[in-house]
Every structure is written in structure tokens, then in C-alpha cells.
């Protein structure tokens, strides 16, 4: 169940020739893959970093790596999990460095949330903005768990494989992460969670 409106999930069959063309440096093929997946990658990075500028940078870096290393990506397997792993790594790198982190937190506090497209755009924007802000206060390991569960809608075994943690620990880690996230959201005024 994916609630995003415009994600067209490409089949591996459709991806394969595009990836092969991309490995030969074909701009059109790269652009097609970009337009198909950038929104999802950017949103993932945004949830992981909490800052739109840094997320844009991380998402673009992931696609530059795709363009440079397309010959190393197995074209018979779905592309998105590869992109997801790369963008998670990019986000971790972005978050290194205390000074950058603090500057980012200040920006996050000022930012509005872009691109509302729900039935009630204002309410949806405010809700997502609050969640993004709350997520940015979580330790990054817990933020990754929440994002993979709720944005990426992965099963526990897939989360474990993506993050390299034992599958048996996902449920208890998610419990800790959600408990903290709830505390933060309550502090930010989410009455319905009390």
C-alpha cells in the first residue's frame, strides 16, 4: 500500500534497458530513471535529515552515483532498493559534523514544508511539518527505523537487511523509537497522542 499519488513503480523489465543505457552514459535513460524515482528518494532523504536543502543535496548525490556507477548496478534486480541504500548512506554522511548539524537544526526550525497535495493542503502540510520536525529530534538510528517502516513501508526483515541489524530486534527497536517520537510530538502539541 503506497499512498503517494504519482509514484509509478517501474517493473524490473522496464528498468533493465534503461540501466544498461545509463551505464553507456545515455542522458535520456538517466533522465527517465531520475523522473521516476527522484521524488521518492528526495522524500526519503528529507525524512532522514529533516532539512530540505541537505536532503536535496543527498538525493542528487545518490543520482549522480547512479549515473557514474550504473554499470555496477545489477540490471536484473529492482533499482529502488539500491537507491534507497545509497541515499541512506548519503544522509548519514551529511549528518556528520556537529556544526553542520546545528546549522541545519536552525534552518529546519524556520522552514515550511513544501509541495502539499492532499485534500486539505494546509492541515496536511502542518501535520507533515510537525512530524518532520519531531523526526529530526530523534537519534538517527531511530529515525531510520521510523522512516523505513512508515515512508518506505518495509517489512521487519527488509528493515533489518537494509540497516544491517538482527531481524529479531526490529520490533523492540521500533517500540523505543515510536515511544520517543510520541513524546516529542506531544511536546510539539499533538494532543491526540496523549
Amino acid at each position: 500500500m503506497n499512498t503517494q499519488a504519482t509514484t509509478v513503480t517501474m517493473t524490473a523489465d522496464a528498468e533493465q534497458p534503461l540501466l544498461e543505457a545509463c551505464a553507456r552514459g545515455d542522458r535520456r535513460a538517466f533522465e527517465t530513471l531520475f523522473r521516476n524515482y527522484f521524488g521518492r528518494v528526495h522524500r526519503l532523504a528529507w525524512a532522514l535529515i529533516g532539512d530540505r536543502d541537505a536532503a536535496l543535496d543527498a538525493a542528487q548525490n545518490a543520482f549522480l552515483k547512479l549515473y557514474r556507477h550504473a554499470d555496477r548496478v545489477d540490471p536484473r534486480r529492482p533499482l529502488f532498493p539500491w537507491l534507497r541504500a545509497i541515499v541512506i548512506r548519503e544522509c548519514r554522511m551529511q549528518q556528520r559534523g556537529e556544526r553542520r548539524r546545528r546549522a541545519r537544526e536552525e534552518r529546519v526550525a524556520r522552514q515550511a514544508v513544501p509541495h502539499a497535495s492532499a485534500a486539505d493542503p494546509v492541515a496536511a502540510r502542518e501535520a507533515a511539518e510537525r512530524v518532520a520536525r519531531a523526526l529530526s529530534e530523534l537519534p538517527s538510528a531511530e529515525r531510520e527505523l521510523i522512516v523505513l517502516k512508515h515512508l518506505e513501508e518495509l517489512r521487519y526483515v527488509e528493515i533489518a537487511a537494509t540497516l544491517g541489524i538482527p531481524a529479531g530486534t526490529v520490533m523492540s527497536r521500533l517500540y523505543q523509537a515510536r515511544r520517543k517520537l510520541r513524546e516529542i510530538l506531544v511536546r510539539l502539541g499533538a494532543e491526540e497522542l496523549r
Binding site: 499512498t3 499519488a5 517500540y175
Partner: protein, 151 residues
Amino acid sequence: MMLRSCEEYRVLLMGYLDGELDATQRAEVEKHIHSCADCSAERGSYENLNRMVQAMNTYTESERALDRYWQQTWNRAERGIGWFLFGAGAILLTGYGVFEASREFWTDPTVPLIVRIGAGAGGLGVLVLLVSLVRERLMLRKKERYTEVER
């Protein structure tokens, strides 16, 4: 049946809400929720939390934003290629320039043989180091573990 604490049930509640429990565990959690007001309230609270987080999913890029991001990304990709070619060209031209500029030195009979051998070995060394550096960069790029990515 094993008796669990409320805290343990709350961990299981995650699996329950995420659809990750087997039938036996699910029945156990349901039974506890029916008899425990606190855990029942927790269930409602986490359902709300999950819905709230899911709200982030309704965001999509506008076409215009996507166009702009594509342009930026493509420009960066092109720039990467540009820098690579520029670097390769610079090394070639510098090497050629150094060789041409010192042509006289190599053919000058008054320069002792030992000095020419020394200079030749030194120049060769610099060249080997440069090539090794470039090769390391390329190898590093290839080995950046993008193939080992879990998926």
C-alpha cells in the same frame, strides 16, 4: 500460556499494528488489550501516531520542482565529466611541456651523464607517482562498495 508484563505487550503491540505477528501472538495481544485499559489506550495512541507519520507520504514533487532538480543534477553530472577530462588533459599537456622545455638539457653534452641519469630517474618517479595516484582514484571509485549494497 506464558504471562507477560504490560511492557512486553507494548513491544508486541508494534508487531500487532505492523501486521508482523503470527496468529497465536495476535490472539494473545488481543486478549490482553481487551482486559487491560492502559494497553488498550496505548493501542489507540500508537495507531494515531502511525497515521500521523504516514501523513508525510502524501507529499510529492510538483512537475516544476522536478524539472528544476533534474536540470541541477544533470549540470552536476556534466561538470563531473568536465573535471575528469580537464584533469586528464592537464596531466598530458604538463608532461609534454616539461619534456619539451628540458629537451636541450637532455642533448647538452656538457651535462655529466650522472646528472642526466639522476634527473631522468626523478622525472620518471614523478610520472609513476602521478599515474599511480590517478589509478588509485579510478579504482577507489569502482570499489566504493556500490555493488555490495543490500537490497
